[in-house]
Symmetry: C2
Subunit: 321 residues, 2 copies
């Protein structure tokens, strides 16, 4: 088995590559180092079953020739498409960001899968495709789907393009709708923001919103474990799963206090107003993982424990850099 | 009121422009004449309240400067985005067709709405976004949405991008999910295919599939009437409506026989096998228009009467050309 990973030097990509290598599979990975980095690959580079190339996936000609080289050296049996923009506010300020990095990378990947005859894709979709459905539990077959960020829109567009490709070409597609994922290597997100803010100004922590916004969080190691469980246990041609923690989540206040206690216990936390952090940010939602539970996977950490573990790891990451 | 229409020289665009002009509104329309044509504009060109420019909407620079000229001459208050690929098999053979003509035209339109401060968009979405949900009635909030053609995928991608833009910029968006629409000027579709086939070989008509495939059909004049009814009667910031006939539809066999009886009564009709015409073609589905009925609009023609009327019009179109 040779698995190809896009965005391999990013947050999820590095953890996924490590898990696959540990299973004895070979991994070929591409990244443009836009959000991922060479430093993130340090642990992977020493493994002889890992091959890496720096490639810009929105450049179809470059992508095609790099993939041709990799495929010729070692035929690729499946593609895990993890490359995407992960900065939601950046995509709202400029829609080209998600168009290119989130959607066109998917479009080009599907195009090349057809050309090279690779039959299986696993895709990092997102709970952001659901938009704001209020208090309704977010199950996989809920509708309507009206995302409120370009990030969510281009993830939904990617799902749609994959779904159409399954009808005409692909053998198998796995759509993983990611929750809020935390852990290392952290490149963005609320924990990293808070850690950096407190390291810069240890006396106080300014929080966007009133701190009551509540979300569930999953640790990236558990996310990878869930994806591989689905790959092993689901046989549908097109599968779609919410992945997440099996609880109602924790508040922004909880995260702020956890980071404060770890980094700068004397700091004052100052809250803003409202329970939305930015345009495209959905307040408390109920994310159902019943389908995944029925497949026999259950997270070991709850949201609170995942946050505590991630805070420790992010503080270590930021301190040793 | 000056309304801007993309794809104004196409099938729906010409009918929409005529209806708006009849209401006393001014219309600015763009088209690239890829599927639309100058001939289709004949009836509109004589109206002093109609302005037209030939523009390639996937070329953002050309689109921007043409829109700037139009907007300066006469400020645009709303945009009706009807331009799209309408050839589903073409989009399956080459995904770039729907990427460019169906999705990027939407992306660029949203970009320019933001730049020019135009607040309202009405969009020609499609029942194709629903994919194949089996026997479940297709209501607007059904899920999951797994389209089975690139056409459906890029219509869903467009809806998603519009939805995100409503959250950040737009004042109002109307999403119209079109059914199978028939009438003139016909540029594609089963009626035109059958008429042309029979005119070429009057002795026989070869039909793709076994003829049992059943769909409901709406006449384009009724489609336009429904869209304007929704515009007048719905006040939500983001509205989404199925538009269609209020019946279970007619079979391909019914259409074939209606065309045969009108064009070449002695012709033999030869059916193929299976009840799908091509990849991406959904067999019989139940398209709910309950939401539209509740808003007080009801089609006057059923599917059968719409087919008979459209067959007469298409035969006349093809005979006089």
């Amino acid at each position: 088995m040779t698995v190809f990973i896009t965005g391999v030097a990013g947050f999820v990509g590095t953890n996924l590559a490590a898990a696959l290598l540990e299973r004895g599979e070979r991994v070929v990975g591409f990244d443009n180092f836009c959000r991922g980095s060479e430093a993130n690959l340090a642990g992977l580079r020493t493994n002889p079953d890992f091959m890496f190339e720096r490639v810009e996936l929105t450049d179809i000609a470059a992508y095609r020739s790099a993939l041709a080289r990799a495929h010729e050296a070692d035929p690729i049996t499946e593609i895990w498409h993890m490359a995407a923009n992960s900065d939601i506010p950046a995509g709202i300020a400029d829609p080209h960001v998600d168009l290119g990095d989130t959607f066109m990378t998917t479009f080009n990947t599907l195009l090349l899968m057809r050309e090279f005859g690779v039959g299986t894709i696993a895709f990092a979709s997102s709970s952001a495709i659901y938009g704001d459905l209020g208090e309704r539990p977010l199950v996989e077959n809920i509708g309507p789907l009206f995302p409120i960020s370009n990030y969510g829109a281009m993830k939904l567009a990617s799902e749609a393009a994959i779904s159409a490709a399954v009808e005409s070409d692909l053998e198998r597609a796995l759509l993983f709708r990611f929750p809020n994922v935390i852990g290392v290597p952290a490149t963005h997100g609320v924990i990293l923001d808070f850690v950096r803010k407190l390291q810069a100004t240890p006396g106080c922590l300014d929080v966007l919103g009133d701190g009551t916004q509540q979300k569930s969080y999953l640790h990236v190691e558990e996310l990878v474990d869930a994806m591989l469980h689905i790959r092993d246990h689901d046989n549908a041609r097109l599968s779609c799963y919410n992945i997440g923690a099996a609880d109602d989540g924790v508040t922004v206040r909880f995260i702020a206090e956890t980071v404060r206690d770890r980094v700068s216990p004397q700091a004052e936390i100052r809250y803003g107003e409202g329970n939305r952090g930015w345009v495209g940010d959905v307040p408390k939602f109920v994310y159902s993982i019943d389908k995944l539970l029925a497949l026999g996977w259950r997270p070991k950490l709850g949201s609170a424990a995942a946050v505590r573990r991630a805070v420790d790891q992010v503080v270590e990451q930021e301190t040793t850099q």
